[in-house]
């Protein structure tokens, strides 16, 4: 129901593609570096495009009040939103993998890549849900806040410039971003040298997932009351 909504298609499918084209056209980069970057951008944008939109839409349509009058708790509702967003992010992110196959760029470690994509999609969906806890029923307001968070993260997460090439302050910011860790996993999966050990990337993504999800549930419990009034 939400996957075909305008903002979801624009922010989740078209935007990462155009952003990536703007970055790579005219630059002499290896196909592995490009595809790993494209996978990272796609997982990030598509996973964070559904969950921020659901809460304001549900509030606007008053369906939120129906759901919360049924015997389900806020945690379950948020988990549903996050899983829906995660599924969208995961499925859309198959496309860059296929583009890679088309240009004969294959991942060297498929299980790690798919595992990383699944955990990252959950993590980024939870981040999207956390952003949507801002108590507004206007999807445009939430999407604007979401863009304010997402764009800086894309530029700080080693997708366009590898983390080791960043200045110290840049490295500090990069390591605060969850996207950095998935980008590292994606690079590793395409046979490139990762900046961190693989288990660190996965551990940080899991920790961020727990943190974002717990915060999202906590904040939505308060925001829901504002939304229904």
């Amino acid at each position: 129901m939400y996957y075909t909504k305008g903002p979801v298609v624009i922010f989740g499918v078209l935007l990462p593609l155009f952003l990536f084209l703007a970055f790579c056209i005219g630059r002499n980069l290896s196909s592995e570096f490009l595809i790993a970057g494209l996978v990272s951008i796609t997982v990030f944008f598509s996973s964070t495009s559904v969950s921020p939109a659901v809460a304001p839409w549900e509030g606007q349509m008053r369906t939120l009040e129906r759901i919360i009058s049924c015997p389900v708790d806020v945690k379950t509702i948020i988990l549903g939103d996050v899983l829906a967003s995660m599924a969208f992010g995961f499925i859309i992110s198959i496309a860059p993998l296929l583009i890679g196959v088309g240009i004969k760029t294959f991942p060297t470690n498929v299980p790690v890549l798919l595992g990383g994509m699944a955990i990252s999609a959950f993590c980024f969906s939870s981040l999207g849900s956390l952003i949507s806890a801002y108590p507004s029923n206007l999807p445009s307001t939430i999407m604007m806040i979401s863009s304010l968070v997402r764009f800086p993260l894309v530029f700080l997460s080693g997708i366009f410039i590898p983390v080791f090439k960043l200045p110290l302050w840049g490295k500090a910011l990069a390591y605060a971003s969850p996207l950095t860790y998935f980008t590292d996993i994606a690079r590793y999966s395409y046979g490139l040298k990762p900046a961190l050990p693989l288990h660190v990337d996965f551990a940080v993504l899991i920790l961020y997932s727990i943190l974002f999800f717990a915060l999202a549930v906590k904040l939505h419990e308060k925001a829901i009351l504002v939304r229904i009034f």
């Binding site: 129901m1 349509m61 008053r62 369906t63 009040e65 129906r66 759901i67 919360i68 009058s69 049924c70 015997p71 389900v72 708790d73 009351l225 229904i228 009034f229």
Partner: protein
Amino acid sequence: MRAIEAENLKKRFGSVEALKGITFHVKRGEVFGYLGMNGAGKTTTVRILTGIVKPDSGCARVMGFDVSEDTLRAKEVIGVLPEVSNAYPDLTAWQNVMFTAELYGMSKREAEKRAEELLREFGIYDRRNSRVRGFSKGMKQRLMFCMALISDPEVIFLDEPTSGLDVLSARMIREKVLELAKSGKTIFLTSHNMNEVNLLCDRVAIINRGKIVVIDTPGNIRARVGGSVALEIRFDRAVELPAEFRSKKVGDKYVVYTTDVHEAFCSVADFARGAGVKVLEVNTRSPTLEDAFLSVLGVVN
């Protein structure tokens, strides 16, 4: 057994005290009307009883389940029909009902059987595969009723169930309410339609500024209007009736409440002579629930 128990419920939103200690009980199988002006605290009460909002203090139980402590169990035994349609417009009628069934944890087979029964009963089975976006208000309301009843709840909260509906749909909904009550379901009805409340409810509570001002049967509440007769008078022009008449203006008529028709009639005639106005029409009737409602809230002079 009591189906709904509200004990000294208090709720504050910022500086606004929405509920100032509400206490009432609804018996099992009863149709209980809940009346009040806009902003009186009706919606807040319903949201507390349906587990959506927690009270600041006090206690509410539905079928014995504390709505604050045992929220999910309490929600399992209730069905809610909101005033404004909150079905998903992009889903079909069937998908909406089935989705609600899923939220109640019903098995697919059980849900399908019940959904078919309800959609047939409410006359929208033929449109089950149409998106709700194209439904009329009456059809949406019937669908909402199906969604509220899918889990076969013991207690049903109806918020303005016939508001804005065509005569046929409104009549159908009223008949369903009576059928449900007959089958032992408890109905908590909030409405502005006094005639509807009068027809459907066993007892009525009137809430004003966060406080219950009266709980009684519709008949007893009507009898509280300072007497049992309303004198309906039409003059040849608009007048300002003196305050000693307990009156209100309704359209081009004036309604005077009295216990002594003769005395009231003579006083009105004296007033008309004094003011130089002609009496064109005089009728007597029993006060309606609406008269009683306004009287209880102190709206009548």
